[in-house]
């Protein structure tokens, strides 16, 4: 496993990537990806992989999936021209409105697709992990929609900072399982869900929420999220009169970003920029800037870039946004970074807060804290690129973040008063 590519390998991998040939048979995106799982889970993954191979490309599944996206999720989501923001920034800013999707974020595209798959595979129940709670809510809703019981694993730290989403999951009939182990956030929740899956690999479907983990999840999630970029590409041509010069998306595990970027990979004139959580600073544990500061390693099933110490222990992370607060990242992003096709930058907690407020006041859109990171980076970029066309993946709405925002506002006020 090596993460450095020579020029020939790189250009071949870029071609393969654009051509849709990745991941390969073994679940690899170049050096990244693969399937690092306990032997106990091997049958479950093989079942899943066979299911995906059989159902995902089938007309029947695709039609069922497209129908749910249109009639229940509310796709296509809008493309909004942000006139007042554009004026402030000096660029032309277009927003792909995943916040308008049912349950309020892009997560639902993946959740309903996998819930349909779970039903096809004959699962008796579904488990899922969640960080910000958006994937948990999306999973709860999708499972209700297809008629499967759902249990969501959630770290107790996240349960606290995303309390509104916990209530929503309960309302939607899901069980929320509080995870007290490990870092008590998303990473621990994934571990806990995997442990549960082992107990009944055939009866349980594990509905993973981002483009991470062992093969075939990064592939499956990308396929289900690509609708974002496919729609946005068409809408830019229809409404903006042409493709963007640059596209921004925030990167936690990387699902909304890969969903937006993947259909644009072949448009070599479009600059693609992923934005990670810069947290409170550059120090270890102060951020979740995996691609920006991490190193290659294996975490939760795949070889990718991760945040780890010299002994290979995973680093705890910090971000104001629960959804970006993860020490790993999808392997396809690791490849796209290695290839130089996508660049990855960071935005700090404070920059995200400021960007969130600016968008509220100029466009009347309360975006998710995760998403706000993409705005902060896009604003910076605008300074050096006046007049350019920017596409931003507005991955979710910020209603869930009200308690966090209130806490930070209180802190800021207290500082101001002091």
């Amino acid at each position: 496993m090596k993460a450095v590519l020579d020029a020939d390998e790189a250009s071949e991998l870029l071609r393969a990537s654009i051509a849709g040939e990745l991941p390969d048979e073994r679940g690899r995106f170049g050096p990244f990806g693969g399937r690092y799982i306990p032997e106990t889970l091997v049958p479950a993954f093989e079942l899943l992989e066979r299911g995906i191979r059989e159902y995902l490309p089938s007309d029947e599944f695709q039609q069922e999936y497209r129908t749910q996206l249109r009639d229940w999720v509310g796709r296509p989501t809008a493309l909004t021209f942000a006139a007042r923001l554009s004026e402030r920034w000096g660029t032309k800013v277009w927003l792909k409105r995943e916040d308008l999707a049912h349950t309020g974020a892009h997560k639902i595209n993946n959740a309903i697709g996998q819930a349909l798959l779970a039903r096809k595979l004959g699962a008796r129940r579904v488990i899922a992990e969640t960080g910000a709670g958006q994937h948990g809510v999306a999973s709860a809703a999708a499972c209700a929609r297809v008629g499967l019981p759902c249990r969501v694993y959630m770290g107790v730290v996240d349960m606290q900072r995303q309390a509104p989403n916990v209530d929503r999951m309960h309302r939607l009939g899901a069980e929320v399982f509080p995870v007290e182990s490990g870092d008590k956030t998303l990473r621990a929740a994934i571990d806990e869900a995997l442990r549960e899956w082992v107990s009944d690999p055939a009866g349980i479907y594990y509905l993973l929420g981002s483009a991470v983990g062992a093969h075939p999840y990064p592939y499956l999630v990308r396929e289900l999220q690509s609708v974002i970029g496919t729609e946005a590409r068409q809408q830019m041509q229809d409404l903006a009169g042409g493709l963007p010069d640059v596209a921004f998306a925030c990167v936690g595990g990387g699902s909304n970003a890969i969903g937006l970027f993947y259909p644009l990979l072949g448009d070599s004139d479009i600059e693609l920029i992923g934005v990670e959580a810069g947290g409170t600073g550059d120090g270890l544990g102060q951020n979740a800037a995996t691609l920006a500061t991490g190193t290659p390693g294996v975490l939760q099933g795949c070889y990718s870039i991760i945040l780890q110490d010299e002994h290979g222990n995973i680093q705890e992370t910090h971000s104001i946004s629960a959804g970006l607060d993860y020490s790993g990242v999808g392997p396809e992003h690791a490849l796209l970074q290695a290839l130089g096709r996508v660049s990855y930058v960071t935005a700090s907690d404070d920059e995200a807060l400021e960007a969130l407020q600016e968008l509220c006041e100029t466009e009347g859109i309360l975006t998710a804290l995760e998403t706000a990171h993409a705005y902060a980076a896009a604003k910076r970029w605008s300074r050096d690129n006046p007049g350019k066309r920017i596409l931003i993946g507005n991955s979710g709405r910020g209603d869930k973040d009200m308690p966090t925002l209130a806490r930070y506002a209180a802190r800021t006020n207290a500082n101001a008063a002091a």
């Binding site: 032997e39 049958p43 995997l194």
Partner: protein, 255 residues
Amino acid sequence: MQPHERIGEAIIAANKDGRTGLVPFITAGYPDPGTFASSLQAIAEVGDVVELGVPFSDPMADGMTIQRSSFAAIENGVTLTWIFDQLDPLQGSIDAPLIMMSYLNPLLAFGYAKLASRARETGVCAFIVPDLPYEESAEISAALDAEGAGLIQLVTPATPADRLKLLASASRGFLYAVTITGITGGSSGLPPDLAGYLDEVSAVSPLPVCAGFGIRTAQDVDSVGKHAAGAIVGSALVEVLERGEDPAAYLRQLR
């Protein structure tokens, strides 16, 4: 004889003595790094093979007990480097072959070549890597092989026959038969169809088969021993250490 061959030999020797091979597992440096060397020596007096757990921040295949011990050990500064360094001065004083249980990432961070040579130097004869399925294991296997160390494969009751054969022939040291489809430390006892499963695995395996997961009592060791060459005792032993009790005494009554 390659180091990894010492493992099977130790198990077979126990069987020849009329005993089930006993493979105690401890999380290295838990509960107290200062007593690691002495408790390892005490345990190695009773165990036929000793399994040392390398603590990792994401022990996804483990239950609460081993998770807890793993996090505590990390807190106390236990690392793979530290473990090897502790083993160095023990050379010659421990007869039982050692194996190491580690998730992949600490091994990756350490480096495979260095891992293999340090293993040879410290008497570590094989590795169990719970998040490394056979398909991803070629690279590390090759590195270990070069120094005579091996990779122990795991099979489970859900493993299909073809794959069972594949894993049995790929394993080194012994073949690890997971008794339940769950995580370590389950308290649900052993499954009812255990005998048939272990017989089947034993029939296929060219190496001794050791059963693990959920083995806590002398009776468990006994019933496992009728259908497998060895028994691996993990969570139950870690709990003994956690309570500050004598691990050797606990292990002795299992024999």
